[in-house]
């Protein structure tokens, strides 16, 4: 599903953000990406989204080498990946329903399909009652659930979550984890970058740790980690 082959990333200012990353994530897996701030987690996600280009190596997504994809085709790559951010990134002047429908509209989905699917996804994240609210009328947890609904409405094979619980209190964070876990249960591959030690430790999923740009641990049913990275 996702494969990094000998991937290096060096930024223009000679910072080596990633060094020789080799990582294979299979279809249906749930993977935590951990490591301290600046370790290279964000760079890894940016490479998957083609926001940045690797300096060396190949990145395979859905059996396609995305490092060879032309800029013009990037939007079509991104349609295979649902993304959830720490800061939700909802459109402030669109309602909950419109925010989710928007992701379908841009790919030219049939209005009938949109009318069928958006309520379905909203009920999956338990937001049916808030469909006509605007983002600033919602709590943090509700906003994150909207952004998850938006990320999965086009049924992408992969969902990337970049610290999705970072702005939420522990109870709300668990709510979000339950939603993500459900989505994973339906077959979507989930890659989640996080600092949330408790969550990683109790979920008992695969854990990949990055430290100073190198992949230093890849453990099935792992925990958050050792002294090097926790502080």
């Amino acid at each position: 599903m996702i494969e990094f082959q000998n991937v290096d990333k060096e930024y223009d200012n000679n910072v080596r953000a990633l060094v020789n990353i080799n990582l294979k994530i299979h279809k249906g897996e749930f993977v935590f990406l951990v490591g301290s701030s600046g370790a290279g987690k964000s760079t890894l996600i940016k490479l998957l989204l083609k926001e940045e280009e690797p300096t060396a190596g190949r990145i395979i997504l859905n059996n396609m080498d995305i490092t060879k994809v032309k800029n013009r085709r990037i939007p079509y790559i991104r349609r295979n990946i649902g993304v959830v951010f720490q800061d939700f990134r909802l459109l402030p002047n669109k309602t909950v329903y419109e925010n989710v429908a928007f992701a379908m509209e841009i790919i030219g989905a049939h209005p009938k399909e949109i009318r069928r699917k958006v309520p379905m996804v909203l009920s999956m994240v338990d937001l049916s009652r808030k469909a006509s609210s605007f983002p600033d009328q919602l709590s943090g947890g509700e906003r994150q659930r909207v952004s998850i609904a938006r990320a999965i409405v086009n049924s992408p094979p992969v969902l990337i979550a970049d610290e999705p619980t970072g702005n939420l209190d522990p109870d709300t964070a668990w709510e979000i984890m339950k939603v993500l876990s459900d989505i994973n249960g339906r077959g979507t591959t989930v890659l989640m970058a996080t600092h949330a030690k408790d969550i990683v430790n109790s979920m008992k999923k695969r854990v990949v740790e990055i430290h100073e740009g190198r992949l230093i641990r890849d453990e099935q049913k792992g925990g958050y980690g050792n002294e090097i990275t926790s502080f």
């Binding site: 939007p75 790559i77 030219g108």
Partner: protein
């Protein structure tokens, strides 16, 4: 195909929605477009009016009248007529005998015409009125006429025309400079206004990119929004110019004719041209402004 059509429909819908939801910023864009177009309109009308006055006045002076000596033979008349017809730039030649001249004078004098009845002898001379093809032939023709035997006097308003042409040229040049400057200012103002709109919606653009929107899809609604703002701005200024000029025309035209024997350009004619020009400029500036200010946000 159906999918493309839906995407296109969405873009249009988003454009209208964006315009409505950003109407605060929109009012700023629309008023700056209107303001610039208004100034442009006033300058344009001024130039057109002055141009019109100059042209009308010019055609009035666009003829040369020559007066013949008394006692010429028929052969002399033929000789003079042929010499004139052979000159380059002569459009028509009309002979006015001294009797006809007197009649014309009587008509012109109207009530006072009885004063002319008492004349024992017609004091006028036979004359020709020469219509010119173009004003540029005037000087040469006039100097050639002066060399023809039998012509006593050549009347031509050279000085007046020269001065008028000079003034007209200055005004045209000045007008072009002002219009050029205004266009630059307007593009600057509008691209800035739209830049503010776009910056305010930077997040939105960013999000659209992450959800997998193509550049065209992102650009589309903004361009439509820009065009709509441009259209509204143009409409507002067209209406103001229309009513303003109609009012001005009504209250000034007759007085102007009394003073300078010229008319203003009639509103119906002028407004139509201005409407076309303004709509084109409004739409162009709106679309261009959006494109320019979007460019740097699309490289995520």
């Amino acid at each position: 195909m159906a999918m493309r059509l839906r995407v296109f429909k969405n873009i249009i819908k988003q454009g209208f929605q964006g315009m409505w939801r950003n109407r605060g910023m929109g009012i700023a864009s629309v008023s700056s477009i209107s303001a610039v177009l208004l100034i442009l309109g006033v300058v344009l009308i001024l130039i057109l009016t002055i141009n019109n006055i100059v042209l009308e006045t010019k055609t009035k002076f666009d003829e040369i009248q020559i007066y013949l000596e008394d006692g010429l033979s028929n052969a002399d008349y033929d000789r003079i007529e042929n010499r004139i017809r052979d000159m380059e730039g002569v459009l028509s030649l009309v002979f006015i005998s001294k009797e006809q001249g007197l009649e014309i004078m009587k008509e012109g004098w109207e009530e006072e015409a009885y004063l002319l009845e008492g004349l024992e002898e017609n004091p006028l001379q036979d004359s020709y009125i020469i219509q010119l093809l173009d004003i540029k032939y005037a000087e040469e023709i006039v100097s050639n006429l002066r060399n023809i035997e039998g012509i006593e006097d050549v009347k031509y308003y050279q000085d007046v025309i020269d001065k008028l042409m000079l003034v007209a040229n200055y005004i045209r040049f000045g007008g072009i400079v002002i219009i050029g400057a205004l266009m630059l200012v307007s593009i600057f103002i509008i691209s800035n206004t739209i830049k503010v709109t776009v910056t305010a919606r930077r997040r939105e653009i960013n999000i659209m990119k992450y959800v997998g929107a193509t550049n065209g899809y992102i650009r589309g609604p903004f361009i439509i929004e820009g065009i709509l703002f441009g259209l509204i701005g143009a409409a507002v200024s067209i209406l103001i110019i229309k009513f303003g000029y109609e009012y001005f025309f009504k209250s000034v035209n007759d007085k102007l004719y009394l003073l300078f024997t010229v008319y203003l350009v009639p509103p119906t004619l002028l407004i139509k041209d201005i409407a076309i020009i303004f709509t084109a400029i409004g739409v162009g500036i709106g679309a261009l402004g959006s494109l320019v200010s979007l460019k740097r946000f699309l490289n995520v």
